[in-house]
Each structure stands twice: as structure tokens, then as C-alpha cells.
């Protein structure tokens, strides 16, 4: 699934993998630049852009004003005039400040002008629960399901963070790139060399025959832990990570569903309006005859996310939530 020019691996954190991707792509292509709030001198509040200023200088690594509308809108302006911006919104919770730009400009500028432009940009959107409160801790990827024209890419481990970000930067379509803030410190094996992961290709993170768990972002790791425990109890779980919502690799999902006949969809966003509903609908439309049990969604409850980490533990889904859901399948 991933293309590498060498077989050796190294261990990187998720954050280091993002930084590595930026470094490699900026090294490769002078049109690539990085901007956002605190991304230059400070190196990004999650350290994902640390060291880039020293290496590439202030022309290509730019601290912006606190102006999300401008950050995204001007990235579109730069992209349609020959550059390849990688803009960071400090929190995906700021989507609302830049929503016109994200939804109408990033996604539609090419289409509505008759396809005369390409909009080759990446907007990096740190998401997910981390104890920062109801406005910062959101996972708003499903809001962009209807923003046709923009890709929605979501890595779940350091190797995918590296390979998907590199592919996103090289792609001529605009990419909304969601990074779970709770994953930044996670370590993982990453292939050496020019590691590219194709966009729109799901990863079967664990092969199994009894149940398909479709999960993305932080819930992939939780689902893999659940699968280990369930395996010990005799249930063989397949974990499919779509690696984003658009392009959506429906084939890999349906193939797995046809094999197992049982589906759990796990994401951190609240259940109502979450992308699990869309994927469940696709499965119902395309593969109902394979289902031996109703589809179960594992998600946050439909309440705002409290800032208190103590309360968050009762809200945010974990491996235990996946195990409980698998137990409820027929």
C-alpha cells in the first residue's frame, strides 16, 4: 500500500513524522511553504514545525497574525498563483472562523471558475480531545463531507502521518489534513526513504474474519488494542482505517464487510452528524445483504466536550467502548 524506496525503518513520533514530511517536501520543492500561528520561531504549539525556520528561513516559514480567515483565504490566493501552501490552523476548532474560506474557497474555487485553476494546498487541522475545552477539542471532519472539491485526509500513526502528508502536499487537489493532538507524542515505526502513502486508499491495519471495525484517527489505535483483547477471547477483528473521508475507499470497506458481515464504526466525534452515519448508510445501500447484525457506531455522546479531563474519560470512546460494541453484535 505504501511506496518506499528503502526497506529500513526508524522510530518517530507522530509530531516528528509531520515535521519530517514538511522538511522533505520543502527540500524537494521551493514552491512549498508553511504558515500559521506560532509555526516559525516557536515551532508550532505541538512542535510539528520545529526547526523548519532554521533550515528554510523566514521566506518559507511564516508566523501569521491571529487571522484564520486570512490564513486560509490567502493560502488559496497563493495556491492559484503557483505556490503550494501548507497552512496550519492552530486548532481545528477554529474552523468556524475560516469556514467560508474552507468550505467555499478551498473546496470550490477550482470548480466554480470552470476548472481553470488548481488549488494545491494543505490545511493542517489539529483535532481531538486533549483537555482544552469544548471549542478546541472537536473532531469536525464530518462537517466537510459535503465540501465536495476538498480532500479530507486523516492519519492514525506516524508512518501514515509522514506518507499521507507528503502525498497531500504533492497532490494538486486541496487537502484538509486532520491530526489528532492526542497522537502527536505517539511513537511508531516509519519506513525510511521517500515514503508516500496514496490518498484515498484505506489501510487494513489488522486482518480478521469475524468483525470489521472501521476507525480513523485516534480510534484506530484504540480499535487495534480492542482487537488484541478480543482475539484472546476468540473474536477475530479486522480493523480498516479509511485514512480520511474523501476520496473514500469504499471498495476496501465493502470487501471487508462482505467477509465479516459484522460492522462497528468508531470515531471520536459525536455520533449525531459524525461521519460514521455516512459510512453506515453506504454499507446499508451497497452491502446490506452481507450484514448479519445491525451496524453499531462507537462515538462520543451528543454533548459538548468538557475541558475537564476527568469528565472526558466518561465521554471519549476508547478500546473498551469498541470491545463493548463488538460484544453487542449478533
Amino acid at each position: 500500500m505504501s511506496r518506499t524506496t528503502a526497506t529500513a525503518t526508524r522510530t518517530l513520533t507522530f509530531s516528528q513524522a509531520i515535521r519530517q514530511a514538511l522538511h522533505e517536501e520543502m527540500e524537494r520543492d521551493d514552491r512549498v511553504f508553511v504558515w500559521g500561528e506560532d509555526v516559525a520561531v516557536y515551532g508550532g504549539i505541538y512542535g510539528a514545525t520545529a526547526g523548519l525556520l532554521d533550515r528554510f528561513g523566514p521566506r518559507r516559514v511564516i508566523d501569521t497574525p491571529v487571522s484564520e480567515t486570512m490564513i486560509v483565504g490567502a493560502a488559496v490566493g497563493a495556491a492559484i498563483t503557483g505556490l503550494r501552501p501548507v497552512a496550519e490552523l492552530q486548532s481545528s476548532g477554529y474552523f468556524g472562523i475560516a469556514m467560508d474560506e474552507l468550505y467555499h474557497k478551498v473546496a470550490r474555487w477550482r470548480y466554480m471558475h470552470g476548472g481553470v485553476f488548481t488549488v494545491p494546498l494543505v490545511i493542517r487541522l489539529p483535532e481531538g480531545a486533549k483537555g482544552a475545552g469544548p471549542e478546541h477539542d472537536v473532531s469536525p471532519e464530518a462537517l466537510f463531507l459535503s465540501a465536495s472539491g476538498a480532500y479530507v485526509v486523516i492519519p492514525s500513526d506516524p508512518a501514515d502521518a509522514l506518507g499521507l502528508l507528503k502525498s497531500s502536499i504533492r497532490d494538486d487537489n486541496p487537502v484538509l489534513f486532520f491530526e489528532h493532538a492526542g497522537l502527536y507524542a505517539h511513537r511508531g515505526e516509519v519506513p525510511s526513504g521517500d515514503h508516500l502513502v496514496p490518498l484515498g486508499k484505506a489501510a487494513v491495519k489488522r486482518k480478521g474474519s469475524d468483525v470489521t471495525v472501521i476507525a480513523w484517527s485516534r480510534m484506530v489505535g484504540e480499535s487495534l488494542r480492542a482487537a488484541e483483547q478480543l482475539a484472546a477471547e476468540g473474536t477475530d477483528v479486522e480493523v480498516v482505517d479509511p485514512r480520511g473521508l474523501r476520496p473514500l475507499d469504499i471498495d476496501t470497506i465493502l470487501e471487508s464487510v462482505a467477509k465479516t458481515g459484522r460492522v462497528v464504526i468508531a470515531h471520536e466525534a459525536p455520533k449525531t452528524g459524525g461521519a460514521g452515519g455516512e459510512i453506515a448508510a453506504i454499507i446499508a445501500e451497497e452491502a446490506l445483504e452481507y450484514l448479519e447484525s445491525p451496524i453499531i457506531r462507537v462515538a462520543s455522546a451528543d454533548v459538548p466536550i468538557p475541558q475537564s479531563r476527568y469528565l472526558q474519560q466518561f465521554l471519549i470512546p476508547t478500546a473498551a467502548s469498541v470491545i463493548e460494541a463488538v460484544g453487542r453484535l449478533d
Partner: protein
């Protein structure tokens, strides 16, 4: 450009108090006339405005005939701003145009056939049939970067294009047109601030026609738009937007500054729209008397009078010019009209690369 920083402006003439519905602005201390305008340039600017006016009349006719499948925001009365504001640009300079009339893109050299095609929503259009009426056409070869329907999105894109020009080490300049209503969108602040902080080559041209759709500027704008330049530490100038020579001079100087790496300028061009915000606008917010009085301020007839009075041209030559332009417009309509409508497959083309 000593003294250009927020030069004082405008004093009203003959139309009552400041909050009167009719605003007739005349700049008292005009921009310094460092830019010479010879008679050839004057005639070019005149022809540009005549083209816009005849285009507009033709668009209105097509609308009446039911051949335009969407609304249209007439640019009648405001021709001096696109004519004088686009003429100083090079082919490779960038244009963010406003929604009123098609004058900006006409002046930048866009194909009239493509624009009429977009009006008629057929495949001759630059968008290949996605039209219509309120344009989203673009031409990267001419630096025409398109337009957002959610007005105000021009600001961020202009800042980004100006950043791009500087990043790539070119001396390209961006000119961004917007109305007084759009100036109140938050994107204005974010984008003008960033462009000023980074000394980007962009010229912001506000067309203040006194109304945001129906709401008078006096009810919705605190202070003067031009004075916002002080806050951003950039030159700002308020000019008579009904006088194409004034628009041309102010823009030439702002473009020269931008090209020289001296950063942005804010130009507030005071003007009047002769028709409603859109065709069919009942204009309950102003009196027929007001629209009637505006006719005396027509930037095209006023320049024509001046050209004749100064002996630059004769009435006959102006009439010839108008018929020549009308023929060009008519030919474009005819060519555009012969194109077929798109099929349903058009919906699915061009969304992704």
C-alpha cells in the same frame, strides 16, 4: 508621495447634509498629478468606459429577453473605477474584480465571447456553462483570479496572490476591487492587516457608492473607510470615483509603489450606482429624484464633453467610436449565442484534478 497618507478628501457639493441620501463627492485636494495623462490615454480610458456601458446595456437587454439565467448587478455609473483602476496594470498583474458590471475584466482583456457565454450560461462561457449572470469567470493567463459570491473573500485571496508574487520574486501587483458594503466584512481587516504588515504588492480599491444593497453608508460605516489606512500604516487616499483621470492617476501611483516593494495602498473612490443593486431592485431606499439627479454625474458623458471642449475629438468621432464598440459587443453576443447549452455531464467536470 509626501502627503498621500490619508489625504483629505471629499467635500460634498450641492446635495445637502452629510447624511443625505444623495452624496455627491468631489475630492478637494486631488492626488498629486505626477502621472501625466495625454490625449491618447484619455481616449483609451474613454473607449474603455464606453465599452463597459455598451456591454452593460447589452447585458440588460439579454436579461429582459430572458436569455440570462441569473441575476445581474449593473455597473452603470461606476465605469470610471474599473476603467481607471485596471488600465495601469500589466497583463501579468493580478485582478480581483467586484460583482458590479463586467468592466474590470473587460479592461483586463478578457474575451467578451467568454463573458457573454457565462451570462447566457452556455458552453462558450469561461466556466463552460456554469455561469450565469453573476460571474465566476477567470483567466489565469490574464491574471484574472476570479470572484467569490460571498463578497469579502476577495481580500484573503488578494493578500495570498500578492504574497505569492513577492515569494516568487516577481514584481507583479494585485489590484482588489470591493464595495463599501464588502469593506465591513471581517476578512477586510485580517487581509489588509497582513498585507500591510508584510508590505505586499496590493492595491485595495473601495468603490463607495453609498449603499450596501439598501443600507446607506451613513448607517453602517463608522468613520471613513479611507481612514482605516492610518490604522494599518499604509497610504490611503479618497478620490472622486466619477472621474476616470483621478482613478487612473491614484491607481498608477499606488501600483508603482507596490511594484517598487513599498507595500499596499487603500484607495476609496466615491461614486454612484445609477441602477439598483440588482435588476429588479425596487430601490425603496432612495427616491426617483435621487437617481435622476445622478445622471448629471455620468462619468462617460462628462468626459465626452471635456474631450470635445478641449478639442481632442469631435462629436462625430465619438459617435464613430461608439458604433465601432457596439459592433464589437454585438459580434461577441452573436458568437456567444451560437454555443450550445451544457449537458448534465458538465456538473461532474473539473471538480478534482
Amino acid at each position: 508621495m509626501a502627503g498621500l497618507l490619508c489625504t483629505d478628501p471629499g467635500r460634498r457639493r450641492g446635495a445637502g447634509p452629510e447624511d443625505s441620501a444623495v452624496r455627491c463627492w468631489v475630492a478637494t485636494n486631488r492626488v498629486k498629478t505626477m502621472t501625466a495623462i495625454d490625449s491618447t490615454k484619455l481616449l483609451e480610458l474613454y473607449e474603455s468606459m464606453v465599452t463597459m456601458k455598451l456591454w452593460d446595456q447589452t447585458a440588460l437587454r439579454l436579461l429582459q429577453e430572458g436569455r440570462v439565467l441569473a441575476g445581474y448587478h449593473s455597473g452603470r455609473g461606476q465605469e470610471a473605477i474599473p476603467a481607471g483602476g485596471v488600465a495601469p496594470l500589466r497583463r501579468d498583474d493580478y485582478l480581483m474584480y467586484a460583482h458590479r458590471g463586467f468592466g474590470y475584466t473587460i479592461a483586463k482583456g478578457m474575451s467578451m465571447v467568454a463573458m457573454f457565454g457565462d451570462l447566457m450560461a452556455n458552453t462558450a462561457g469561461a466556466t463552460g456553462g456554469l455561469g450565469a449572470g453573476i460571474p465566476h469567470f477567470a483567466d489565469p493567463e490574464l491574471g484574472i483570479l476570479g470572484q467569490g459570491g460571498t463578497l469579502g473573500s476577495c481580500f484573503g485571496i488578494a493578500t495570498g496572490a500578492a504574497f505569492s508574487a513577492k515569494y516568487r520574486g516577481t514584481d507583479q501587483v494585485v489590484v482588489c476591487f470591493f464595495g463599501d458594503g464588502t469593506a465591513n466584512r471581517g476578512a477586510f481587516h485580517e487581509s489588509v492587516n497582513a498585507a500591510a504588515a508584510w508590505r505586499l504588492p496590493v492595491v485595495w480599491i473601495c468603490e463607495n457608492n453609498g449603499y450596501a444593497v439598501s443600507v446607506p453608508a451613513s448607517d453602517s460605516i463608522a468613520g471613513r473607510i479611507v481612514d482605516r489606512a492610518i490604522g494599518y500604516g499604509i497610504p490611503g487616499v479618497r478620490i472622486d470615483g466619477m472621474d476616470v483621470t483621478e482613478v487612473y492617476r491614484a491607481t498608477c501611483e499606488a501600483v508603482a509603489r507596490a511594484r517598487a516593494g513599498e507595500g499596499p495602498t487603500l484607495i476609496e473612490a466615491m461614486c454612484h450606482r445609477f441602477r439598483g443593486h440588482y435588476e429588479g431592485d425596487p430601490q425603496v431606499y432612495r427616491t426617483p429624484d435621487e437617481t435622476e439627479r445622478l445622471r448629471a454625474l455620468d462619468p462617460i458623458t462628462n468626459l465626452a464633453d471635456r474631450l470635445v471642449a478641449e478639442g481632442v475629438v469631435t462629436e462625430e468621432q465619438l459617435a464613430e467610436l461608439a458604433s465601432r464598440v457596439q459592433r464589437k459587443v454585438d459580434q461577441a453576443v452573436e458568437e456567444a449565442a451560437s454555443a450550445p447549452m451544457p449537458g448534465p455531464e458538465r456538473l461532474y467536470e473539473g471538480l478534482y484534478v
